[in-house]
Assembly symmetry: C2
Homo-oligomer: 259 residues x 2
Amino acid sequence: MPQSKLVKVKAQPRRSILSDETYLMIRAMIFAHEIVPGDRVNIDALAVQLGVSQTPIREALARLESEDLIAKEALKGYRATNLLTVTEFADLFSFRLLIEPYAAEQAAILIDSKGIKELQSEISNAKEAINFNDERLIEAITEHDARFHALIAKYSNNKTLASAFTNTHCHLHLFRLYVASQKHLIEPSDKTSFIQDLFSRYYQSDRGQLAIKQHTAIAKAICAHNPEKAKAEMYSHIESSLKRFTPDLHKVQTDRKTS
Amino acid sequence: MPQSKLVKVKAQPRRSILSDETYLMIRAMIFAHEIVPGDRVNIDALAVQLGVSQTPIREALARLESEDLIAKEALKGYRATNLLTVTEFADLFSFRLLIEPYAAEQAAILIDSKGIKELQSEISNAKEAINFNDERLIEAITEHDARFHALIAKYSNNKTLASAFTNTHCHLHLFRLYVASQKHLIEPSDKTSFIQDLFSRYYQSDRGQLAIKQHTAIAKAICAHNPEKAKAEMYSHIESSLKRFTPDLHKVQTDRKTS
DNA sequence: AAATACTATTTCGTATAGTATTTTGCCAAA
DNA sequence: TTTGGCAAAATACTATACGAAATAGTATTT
């Protein structure tokens, strides 16, 4: 058994890096609405709650700050940033319309067999998820959507693009998770907030089937190495998604011009 | 003198936030090549050098990490990230070609009189800088270029775009500063590294006059509220800048496809 | 009612100590 | 000389405690 010497302690579980784990945990708390937008984030309290010292918390918050998920006010402390405003939401989609069709185009050129498998498997999973009940459906579709678009950004093979995508998309993701969490507020009341309005428009109608259909078309074009088609499909997908969210976008854009 | 009461202690100098200042100082050290790409960054040493404790250093490094100017390896410490590779450089320009023409277009629509003044003054400054001697010229033009493009990103009024621009552009800026710092290596030697080759191609020929000429055209279109022209001028400006850097770009792109 | 003073809380930074891990340098064996 | 391994030094990571300074809230005085 000469191997025992070579292998040695290689298998010992890596010591966890608290500042990294803390970062992920705080991030998860934000996405899970345990930390609500606008909340103040107290370092001491967080340290106690997570059972670590202040040092890892500080590093985690510094990172979250440069992702704009946490804002720091000098001498006043940290607080969770607010949700996207209507304008910011529209801006984010304008940005997506710039970079994601290009990403799809490049992915169609550069994707390899491993990537094709990964993409197809993501589509399959999504199609299964359609059969979920309402409770899990919306969350499943939201998560699938995030993974799908991230995959394409990754296979564009452009790190600058992929990193810009990641940095901006987390806000959209958070926004969607928040919209979804407001589901129970829809039925009983007739007051229609921006959020609730969005919810009914986006999820009530087709339960996300349209999005998955469009994803399928995009994936098909990419896997067939058809850049033009992939680009066009991605463009109309994002456009359609934006239209569903805000059919009155033209009004928003007009507002911006006059502001 | 009722004013004296109203003004009061408003002017008292804000206590400096060490973690912010430390962040800026380390960042400046990177841009000044006091911290060279690939260098290990020792927290203790930095704390002693800057005369602060570890806490602000850690927060600063965490922020720099998410900008990708500093990379963290678990349990091994931080190190300054390497310069852009040829591929990353090409990717960055592809990305710029996606977002900056759009930014110029939107700026032409949305810019106000204050913005027009700011843009025009930046152009004036640049034209003065052309008369600098070689020593200061390159740095002046590099800094002007960064400010000019940042201004347009700002006046696109799209925060998502502006933030993506900021995050990606610092790498280009660092790259250019590094290229410029290699100037003295050009003349005497005949060995032609990638960097030195770039330098001669980009700066020796016209001392940046072409870039400023193009900037002037872009600014003119924006200030005249001509979106189409602004967009087109910005596109060809970036394209021309890319071509000057890498006339053999097609080769790079071919390489990517086969990788 | 407004200005002021006082108190409590919180942030920000320092200092220090201890543990885990990596790196380095040395020594022995091939 | 080279290789491999082990011990020592260096470094990263975390915890803890403390203090100064600013903010926020409350009470007091004018």
